[in-house]
């Protein structure tokens, strides 16, 4: 059960916070956004951190999920859950179709191609105004209800997002610690050696690309019903970059790192509001300092520091016994 110790800790934090501070703005409002970002960062980390395939267009799949569900519920009167399912199906199809040509590319070229994909999807959201509402956005999206329990308060949404995040983290941990997960890490390490070990690298990359897209789409579906109003701005290029920053900031190839990165990147701007005009400048400076002093990422870097410190203490303790 050591494998899931981190997950238990995360679950405890997620559950205890709103019990201790049920009416705190940072828990129930910022917290919901942080949880949403964490879901997205964990999904992107599967693709980017573990499989080593960068994507600068992850917000596109988040957007497809959100807009599909929003359009089907507001314009065609679908049940929200069915609409989210439809969003997943559409995302699965789109991501599968684009994955083959896109994932042939490597490094900078892959970054460019995914960037292009993100921009194309965003343009469709802006230009398809008869369906999407265009730049003005789409409102009046009904909220979700779960077994007759309407998600109509911030706190209830917090529970919903929290449960989803824990589920997604559990899935990610399971995948990484398996044959498929090793295949992903292997193709990150050396694609030619992975092939030589019998791994169909094309299929493995497609699989993780589609999976990451599906998780983002689910997050999008939840997001649109939580917000009840969405506009293309939430799914643009800058948000894709923000997701990449979360993964890198937390520490690549660490699921908890992605969660941590999402939390920091969501909280920091909120806390820096007090600096008013200097907010963005200070934000940028903090990011730069973090990357300079903890290049492996905040979470992974701190984790390593703590482990080293524990080791030193342990060997010091042994030394004392020896004397």
């Amino acid at each position: 059960m050591r494998r899931l110790a981190g997950l238990c800790l995360l679950a405890t934090i997620v559950v205890v916070l709103p019990i201790l501070f049920p009416d705190n703005y940072y828990v129930t409002v910022v917290g919901v956004t942080a949880l949403l970002h964490a879901i997205l960062a964990v999904s992107l980390n599967l693709l980017m951190g573990y499989a080593g395939q960068i994507s600068l267009g992850h917000a596109a799949f988040f957007g497809i999920g959100a807009y599909t569900s929003a359009i089907l519920t507001t314009r065609y009167g679908w049940d929200p859950w069915a609409a989210i399912m439809a969003g997943l199906a559409l995302t699965g199809l789109v991501s599968f179709l684009v994955s083959r040509p896109i994932l042939r590319l490597k490094g900078h070229y892959l970054a460019m191609a995914t960037l292009g994909l993100g921009i194309i999807i965003n343009i469709i959201l802006v230009q398809g105004d008869q369906l999407t509402g265009g730049p003005d956005g789409l409102g009046g999206i009904p909220t979700l209800s779960l077994f007759g329990w309407a998600l109509d308060t911030d706190l209830r949404w917090y529970w919903m997002m929290g449960a989803t995040l824990l589920g997604v983290v559990w899935l990610a941990l399971n995948i990484i610690d398996s044959r498929s997960g090793r295949a992903l890490r292997a193709l990150h390490g050396s694609e030619v050696a992975a092939e030589m070990m019998g791994i169909n690298t094309t299929a493995a990359k497609t699989g993780v690309f589609v999976l990451a897209a599906l998780i983002a789409s689910l997050a999008g579906g939840l997001f649109c019903h939580q917000q009840s109003f969405i506009s293309p701005d939430s799914f643009n290029f800058f948000f894709s970059i923000e997701l990449v920053t979360m993964v890198v900031l937390g520490g690549m190839a660490s699921t908890y790192g992605a969660v941590f990165g999402a939390l920091i990147l969501t909280l920091l701007p909120e806390l820096l509001v007090v600096f008013e005009d200097f907010e963005v400048m200070i934000f940028g400076a903090i990011l730069m300092l973090m990357m300079i002093f903890l290049p492996q990422g905040l979470f992974v870097g701190l984790q390593n520091l703590v482990l080293r410190w524990l080791n030193r203490r342990r060997s010091a303790a042994f030394g004392a016994v020896g004397e």
Binding site: L171, N174, I175, D177, S178, R179, S180, G181, R182, A183, R185, A186, H188, G189, S190, V192, A193, A194, E195, M196, M197, G198, I199, N200, T201, G207, V208, L211, A253
Partner: protein
């Protein structure tokens, strides 16, 4: 019958012929070495045998099945594994995980059952770990099992690559310069390891520059020069072959032995 049959193989890169009309057979259960000066086409040959390059002409048959046109992971599924001249370790993974990747073809579970951690995952993980331990033991790497691959010295990594290739349970193992960069003690250990692998029933195709090692470990040797066959035979025959001595070995063999 030969395990590997290569016939009239040809490959050129932009007008430069790397392999020209090359034919040879590798009998099962032997250590078969390919030697030749730098640029003779040895690594190109390995890359074609493992499906990384596709030849311009000619055929490669492994256990009576065509290799040409298959992708590397399909060639691996036929029972061919390899190591690389320049290390291709998974430096982002632990020693055990590196070798467990080698068990990929011996296991079956996919992304879906992994995500939900179905019971068969646990069984398969246990089995993979056991196979990986066995492969590590053959290469005398037991004591490195918990370490990260990135923290290991070069000589250990060379053997780790072999352990990973053995975990595939290949019928043919292609070894590209396993002794390059090793000191004398490590080279001796490598020689014993190659013989152990061969005696366990795996045919070894070896590319190596260390002539002492090649002459001692090989059952048969193929000498390449400018991508074609210069000579083929037992180590003794090769050492006494006039063309080989003139073209390549020179006085070196006398020193090496």
């Amino acid at each position: 019958m030969a395990l590997l049959e290569v016939e009239a193989l040809t490959k050129s890169f932009g007008g430069v012929t790397a392999i020209a009309d090359l034919s040879f057979d590798v009998p099962p259960g032997q250590v078969y070495s390919v030697i030749g000066p730098n640029g003779a086409g040895k690594t190109t040959l390995f890359n074609m045998l493992s499906g990384i390059y596709h030849p311009d002409d000619g055929s490669i048959r492994f256990m009576d099945q065509g290799v040409v046109g298959r992708q590397p992971h399909q060639v691996a599924a036929l029972g061919v594994s390899r190591t690389f001249q320049n290390l291709q370790m998974f430096f982002n993974m632990s020693v055990l995980d590196n070798v467990m990747v080698g068990c990929h073809l011996r296991t079956r579970t996919g992304l879906f059952s992994a995500a939900l951690r179905l019971p068969r995952i646990k069984r398969e993980e246990k089995l993979s770990r056991q196979w990986a331990r066995e492969a590590l033991a053959i290469c005398h790497l037991d004591k490195f099992i918990g370490q990260e691959a990135g923290s290991l010295p070069y000589g250990v990594l060379k053997r780790l690559e072999i352990a990973r290739a053995l975990a595939v349970e290949p019928k043919l193992l292609l070894m590209d310069e396993p002794a390059a960069g090793l000191n004398d003690t490590e080279t001796l250990e490598m020689r014993k390891l190659i013989r152990r692998i061969c005696e366990s029933g795996i045919t070894v195709l070896l590319v190596e520059h260390n002539m002492g090692l090649v002459m001692q470990v090989s059952d048969r040797i193929l000498v390449l020069d400018y991508g074609s066959r210069l000579a083929e035979g037992t180590p003794v025959e090769i050492q006494n072959d006039r063309r080989v001595i003139e073209a390549y070995l020179g006085g070196e063999v006398q020193y090496a032995l």
